[in-house]
Symmetry: D2
Subunit: 146 residues, 4 copies
């Protein structure tokens, strides 16, 4: 599936880590896959928090940004995870675009790559009258993060 | 995004339908996107149930199949959904492979296409000793469904 | 557990109904219990919607009410539910108080009572500066509903 | 609500800790309450794991026990939690009964008590034919844990 096999991150300090709980698993005994999206979403925000981006509540006051909703995702599920596993998510920004960015998440169990997800997310402000959302240009301060 | 725009299904009888609840939405007031995967997963099973495939418990007794875990998904999120919306999911099998199949889900709110997900799923049996899962050849009776 | 056994509702028109999906179940093959709270929450809101209460967005504009967060719940889990079950939730308001109300939910599978939850909920407005929530007096129009 | 106010645990080493994520919150901006049950369930298992109880898969092989489903819960929600909060859950076994036990969870944000849940759980084995669950006597080795 991969021309060059992915290698586990040497530096694990920046990983978003989590325990797999019993309730994250389905009757087949493996993680119910929508939970991986919940965790990649947390890892996406964690990437910004680690780099000092203020909470979204402050970000709304400062830039009008209320979040980074997803517009496109490609995900490969290579191996299942089970209750008792400890997972680490390695997140990188692959590309900054005008109103969006591409983030890639690799979910590791030790040196086993379980899931890889590549997301396109937009910077979103509240829509007209506070209803719904609309895309805004990525603030320069954020674009400079990495 | 689409060379040919998708058109809403003329026949809505086969749709998997659901109400969007308050608790499905996030602080931005829109559906938290992992929930769309939960719903596409339900629609995936619903496709089989509608065509007379027995429950997975019976399917395990008959074919050893315990489920159809996902190995690859591509998803486009075109418009958000909100509390109070009623959604319909249109599911088709695009391709049958040896141990897997490709299913496409379109999530509609009336004639608005909100989400499109294309999944590759495998037919899975319990792994050695009942732990984990392994892929098995798609049973002919199932391959004949549509 | 019950001095008088609960009897299934004669009128099923007002029930909040839902299918139990594979993904709602845990490795023991039964509904993972936090999902019952998700469904009782939906049934709580459904009770108001059925009686013509406007959406919470309109309710905020009209009464400042943004929701009815829970402050106290007692729940009895009598029988498990499984994938493929169809459930119906019977909801009644047992008592109106000044800023709160007591709602009782019974979750039925046909004539089997699976879960009974009794909730105290408050009427909540946004807190000072739009952060957090605070309780408000139940609007008279709502108190009159039943 | 409490005759004697609860005091934060002096020893925080045994707490089950977790970050509140954006996706755990609802349109009111506070944790969607069913998530607290997910976390108390994880804390319930964590209590056993910390005391050396083998994973449920081994526990099934050894005692036939597949889990500890809930039969009764009383929960008080005192203060809301929000995205960015770090929570710690303090779990104690209040009482051992024949086939069940009472566990109390207190969810803290620093010295703020947010939620208190008191659960009755049974020790469960698979039901006849592997379908559903049935209660079994609490194994002595487990009863001796604390």
């Amino acid at each position: 599936m991969h021309a060059t096999p992915a290698t586990p991150p040497a530096d694990t300090a920046g990983l978003y880590t989590l325990p797999v709980e019993f309730g994250d698993c389905d009757p087949a005994g493996i993680v119910y896959f929508p939970n991986f999206y919940r965790w990649m979403d947390a890892a996406s925000r964690h990437w910004f928090v680690l780099r000092g981006v203020p909470s979204w509540r402050e970000a709304e006051a400062r830039w009008g940004v209320i979040g980074t909703p997803i517009v496109d995702v490609q995900t490969k599920f290579m191996k299942p995870a089970m209750y008792g596993d400890r997972l680490g998510i390695e997140t990188v920004v692959v590309e900054w675009r005008n109103k969006s960015f591409v983030q890639r998440h690799r979910i590791w169990r030790g040196s086993d790559l379980l899931v890889e997800g590549t997301e396109v997310r937009v910077f979103a402000a509240r829509g007209p009258g506070g209803v719904g959302v609309r895309g805004v240009v990525v603030p320069d301060e954020i674009r400079a993060l990495g």
